[in-house]
Amino acid sequence: MKKIISLIVVAGLAFVSGCGKSNSSSGGSSNVTGGKKITVALMPKSKGNAYFISCKKGADKAANELGVDLVFDGPTDPDPAKQNEIVENWITLGVDAIAVACENREGISTALRKAKAKGIKVVTYDADALPNARDFFVNQATPEGIGYGLMDEAARLCGNEGEFAIITASLTAANMIEWQKYIEAHRADKYPNMKMIALRPCDDMKDKAQSEATALLSANPNLKCIMAICSPAVPGSAEAIKQAGKIGKVKLLGLGLPNENKRYVHDGVTDSVILWKTEDLGYLAVFAADALAKGDLKPGDKTIKAGPLGELQIEGDSILLGKPFIFNKSNIDQFDF
């Protein structure tokens, strides 16, 4: 009997050790240049999210080019303490730099400050922590960049004149209020013949967005363009325009992920989807973390030369990824997230 038990235990451990060997080459082929190899640990908000999987693609590319040993891990369940635990594990593991997309701004800062105190360089990307908990924030898009980008594209689609409406997540969401401020400022400044006639909340739900868009379409026959500034509102509005039979007559643009809009873009319902290139974001996060660890990037620097991304601006302690990217019929199939 004892034999059977020990057999089971040994078999179990053999399985564990088998798993252990398979992953040692996650850093990819690298050109170690004599000195110590830098280890960068990268954390998404959650692991299964297509957005972050796409970030990781860019991160892997950066790790390969720079000869960085990349550790990638993140929460797989909704436990907010997980990010902290992973960071604490990394501190013990002795990584050189950490790059985190923060789920909980204040909560994660406790762990990140601890990492900084141990001499580990800390970068945040996608979503920031408290400023004193990290060295740099890789900012994928400023509110100004998003606001101006949306307004420019809307004006281009409408030929610089006509009525447009905005569908937002909620009237109180801080980031969206910020974007609207810049949309309006840019409109008043550059496109005085464009007129915003309505601002409707969709509670971050696709079906609510659809009914709001339907109502907008029937109430405003002169409506030329819908601007959907939260991601569920883009496919929601597209469905409304399609069902109202106004494809082509009413333009649609919005902030969202390429994958959930591909169908509508190909059908000609949605004209433009605006977002940043997530691969570039992952690339830059690892690039900046590596540069910090090597001492090539220091507080107070005004620019950073990030390989294929070129020379990027640094505003205070946030590294700007640059202008948002416009996905449309011609390029959307090249992206998978």
Binding site: G12, F15, C19, N23, P75, P78, D79, T110
Partner: protein
């Protein structure tokens, strides 16, 4: 001599002993692949990360021993965390008073479970499934899902983040609760009756034991300790939000069952639960040091659970098979 050998063999085959070997093997394996795994710092990391779930598993043990279950402890941790934040920030209470009031909330919530289970005689699974949603819903409603409590004073954060007497500060409270629960379950008649209830509730009642009072006590205790876990959690993260402790009830139940407690009640030990907590915690931490991704942890925890359960059942099955074969062999064949 023969009996001594038998006794040794019985101890060796005991579930807890096997589990202890599993923990040791895990430790040895991870120590060989992760250079920093065996360090003091990492050992303290493991302790720090497993205290909240460990506390919940500890109080879950008497409940499962009675044949019950408490699915609401994770949600209650969330409710207590934001209550604590409310008491401190919005009601302006000093930390110790806020902590005391939070424990009061935990006791009340545990009392609600206890009342529904003992007075109305509703099944614990259904009752705590209800309060599982209720407590989390309350926490979300109070904070509207977005309000976050932070900026706690450093003296409070000490509890979750610093060392006291050389070990992580929260570990001392965990050790105290462990000893307390162990003594309660294994060394008092009160605690022993939990197992009696699990074996045969009606029988226990006929034996003159107040089953209701003891059941109620187990659920109130769970509420109180969930509140303690909430305070430690808040201190460790430096933040209280409505999503605190999400999914912790299942981790706690896993640890208890892995520790050899029968889900039908009646059988189980507190030290088994502690080993169960250790086995899961070491696995989760060790996989990071083995450069393994997190998904593997969930898979292996499941595998470990199934393995542990079967390894304690297989010997019994083999034994019964053997006796059956023997009786078959000796049985006269009637044609």
């Amino acid at each position: 001599m023969h009996t001594a050998k038998q006794g040794f063999r019985a101890i060796l085959l005991r579930h807890e002993t096997i589990l202890l070997f599993v923990v040791l093997l895990e430790w040895l394996y991870f120590n060989s692949v992760g250079p920093r795994f065996g360090s003091v710092d990492n050992t303290f990391d493991i302790m720090r990360h497993s205290v909240e779930i460990g506390l919940l598993a500890l109080v879950m043990t008497p409940i499962i021993l009675t044949g019950g279950i408490d699915l609401s402890v994770g949600s209650l941790l969330g409710l207590c965390a934001i209550s604590f934040g409310k008491f401190w920030r919005d009601a302006g209470m000093p930390i110790p008073l806020a902590a005391a009031c939070t424990i009061g909330i935990g006791a009340l919530a545990g009392g609600l479970n206890a009342t529904l289970i003992t007075w109305l005689r509703l099944p614990p699974l259904i009752v705590t499934l209800g309060t599982f949603s209720l407590f989390r819903g309350l926490a979300e409603a109070i904070t509207r899902g977005a309000d976050t409590f932070t900026n706690f004073p450093a003296s409070f954060l000490f509890l979750g983040q610093e060392r006291w007497l050389g070990i992580p500060a929260q570990a001392s409270s965990f050790i105290l609760v462990s000893i307390g629960i162990w003594l309660l379950v294994h060394r008092t008649t009160f605690g022993r009756s939990f197992r009696a209830i699990g074996f045969a509730p009606e029988g226990t009642r006929y034996a003159g034991i107040s089953v209701e009072r003891r059941l109620a006590m187990a659920y109130v205790l769970a509420g109180i300790i969930a509140a303690v876990a909430a305070i430690i959690y808040t201190s460790r993260l430096g933040q209280a939000k409505a999503d605190a402790g999400m999914g912790y009830e299942l981790f706690a139940i896993t640890a208890v069952v892995l520790g050899g407690t029968s889900i039908f009640g009646g059988i189980g030990t507190v030290h088994g639960t502690l080993l169960g907590v250790a086995a899961i915690a070491v696995l989760n931490n060790g996989l990071v040091h083995a450069r393994q991704s997190r998904e593997v942890a969930g898979m292996l925890t499941g595998l470990l659970l199934i393995l542990a359960l079967t390894s304690s059942i297989i010997p019994k099955m083999l034994a019964s098979l053997k006796t059956r074969r023997q009786t078959l062999a000796t049985k006269p064949i009637i044609t």
